[in-house]
Amino acid sequence: MTAAQRADGARRRAASGTDREWGTRDLSVRFGKRTALDHVTLRAAPGQIGAVVGGDGAGKSTLLGCLAGAVAASQGEVQRPPAARVGYLPSGSGVYPDLTVAENLAFRASVYGVSSAVAGQRVTGLLERTGLASARQRLAGQLSGGMRKKLGVVAAMVHEPELLVLDEPTTGVDPVSRADVWWLIIIAASEGAAVIVSTSYLDEAERTASVLVLSHGRQLAAGTPAEIMAGVPGALRAIRGRPQEDEQPRAWLRAGQWRVWDPPGACAPGPARGGAGRDGGSVIQPDLDDAVTVAELGSELRPADRVEGAGPGLAGGAR
């Protein structure tokens, strides 16, 4: 596909007057007694990539499923384009293992009413650039994990959706295939789609326009990566040696060095809280990984805040 054709797509969308924001507002989802999502607000802006981050059981798949229309909301609002204008890759591979690569894509195109000529042209470029072109006649079930994910992303964007929802497109995918997946994601955003990607890799989230941090069904932080990093409450110290006993619950190891979070109002040890203290270590600027760790620590240290029974939940919390 040429740049001119992509520009056409963006113009078509703009002309149809659908260049609007999608997302959820105060969304809650309950499965029986279990609250999977608790008042979550997510924005998806056209031409932008947004990330939803969190570990296993945080509620990412429920949120993305709701946004894509695959999971029903218990409460709150979901704004999404008509189903035919949504592209969705569920957290599995999102492709039919007993169809070939070409059959998967042809089927998807026909479901979305894209003519085979248009789809063929669009798909050829995407497959060639992501190393899938020579696999057209292979069964999807026989592809490597990385190739299957790439196919899933291509299949989800075959109809140039206005809203593209990708649930963990890079989890377990090797770094080279990950780069290909991200190229596809950038292409979709450059065509004007609002893209929402869930991931547990914070370096990926750090490159996006907006990030929502989920843990145990709750929204711990939201904003641009810079806003989230700037919004870390209290102070963060890098210390030499091991943390003291009272610091241990709010300390973690990063690149071989311990970091200690002092919540607002906490009394940091050492002579100079604002600068470097010989005993207390030095105060550092948090990056996104630190910011999310602090957000999780904060919710772990305030168990009363937790949604009862949200998700399996023990992945992050147990010690």
């Binding site: 040429t2 740049a3 326009a209 973690w252 190891l253 990063r254």
Partner: protein, 290 residues
């Protein structure tokens, strides 16, 4: 002198006409955390299987604790595969008991992590993934191995859980064991003292993250419309990544980038490459062209 726990000298493994591991030489010393990086098919798993003694070398040599790999050397290794390698239909306690039996005799001094104790009689498949992972770790560490091999241990974990796992890994090396770990998460390889990068069966770089990145730089492109700049760079066949609203172009000169942008109003600066960007440069140099 530090004890060498594992060593490969020109280790090669062929499957028919395919060479999965090609003349790999490396050492792992006591107390080290070594990260093994590479794309799928780079040869990481084959190398690990040779170290575990599951695959013989076709050529060259693998030595563990100064001896060729055998059932005896396997006793000194703890291994957590990607699929965790614990029995889903046994309880946590049964899994630990089984592995104690396999590794020869009880080690009463091993203390199962407190977080696992309440779940000792739970069937593994009923536990959340985080606890299953802890059980797999407890099992791999129970016989106090000298060498711990972890295949993608943190996939899907949140940063706090990941940091807690690294604490366990660090504690293991503090006690003198060595750890060989594969990860797809480049940021995380900063946790490793030393990295080995593999591509097409060969070691293409080794050293600390800083040593591997070296002087590699990228061109950073800022413009009012990242979309136009992206299209121009992409059409020129340059590898380009989007970070917020700026673009990063590795493996290209300022002139290449300026040419591709063909007069679009953009600001070009240079920045040090990240480990991931350097990794692609190393790996793509070995790849057949697409």
């Amino acid at each position: 002198m530090t004890e060498v726990l594992a060593e490969c000298v020109n280790a090669t493994r062929r499957f028919g006409s395919f060479t999965a591991v090609d003349q790999v030489s490396m050492k792992i010393e006591a107390g080290e955390i070594v990260g093994l990086l590479g794309a799928n098919g780079a040869g990481k798993t084959t190398l690990i299987r040779m170290l575990l003694g599951l695959l013989p070398v076709s050529e060259g040599e693998v030595r563990l604790f100064g001896r060729p790999p055998s059932r005896q050397t396997r006793h000194e290794i703890g291994y957590v595969p990607q699929g965790l390698g614990i029995y889903a239909d046994l309880t946590v306690a049964e899994n630990l008991q089984f592995s104690r039996g396999v590794y020869g005799g009880p080690r009463q001094d091993y203390d199962a992590p407190a977080a696992l104790r309440p779940f000792a009689s739970a069937v593994v498949r009923d536990l959340p993934l985080g606890l299953q992972r802890r059980a797999a770790f407890a099992e791999a560490l129970a016989h106090r191995p000298k060498l711990l091999i972890l295949d993608e241990p943190t996939s899907g974990m949140d940063p706090l859980a990941r940091a807690r796992l690294w604490e366990t890994v660090q504690r293991t090396t503090d006690e003198g064991a060595a750890v060989l770990i594969t990860t797809h998460y480049m940021e995380e390889s900063q946790e490793c003292g030393r990295l080995i990068v593999m591509a097409q069966g060969q070691v293409v770089a080794a050293g600390s993250a800083a040593e591997i990145v070296g002087q590699a730089r990228v061109i950073v492109v800022q413009s009012d419309s990242w979309v136009s700049a992206f299209r121009a760079l992409d059409a020129a066949g340059l590898p380009v990544a989007l970070v917020g609203t700026t673009l990063r172009v590795p493996q290209a000169s300022r002139a290449d980038v300026a040419n591709a942008l063909a007069g679009l109003p953009c600001r070009l600066t240079e920045a040090p490459a990240t480990l991931e960007e350097r990794f692609f440069e190393l790996v793509r140099a070995r790849e057949p062209a697409r």
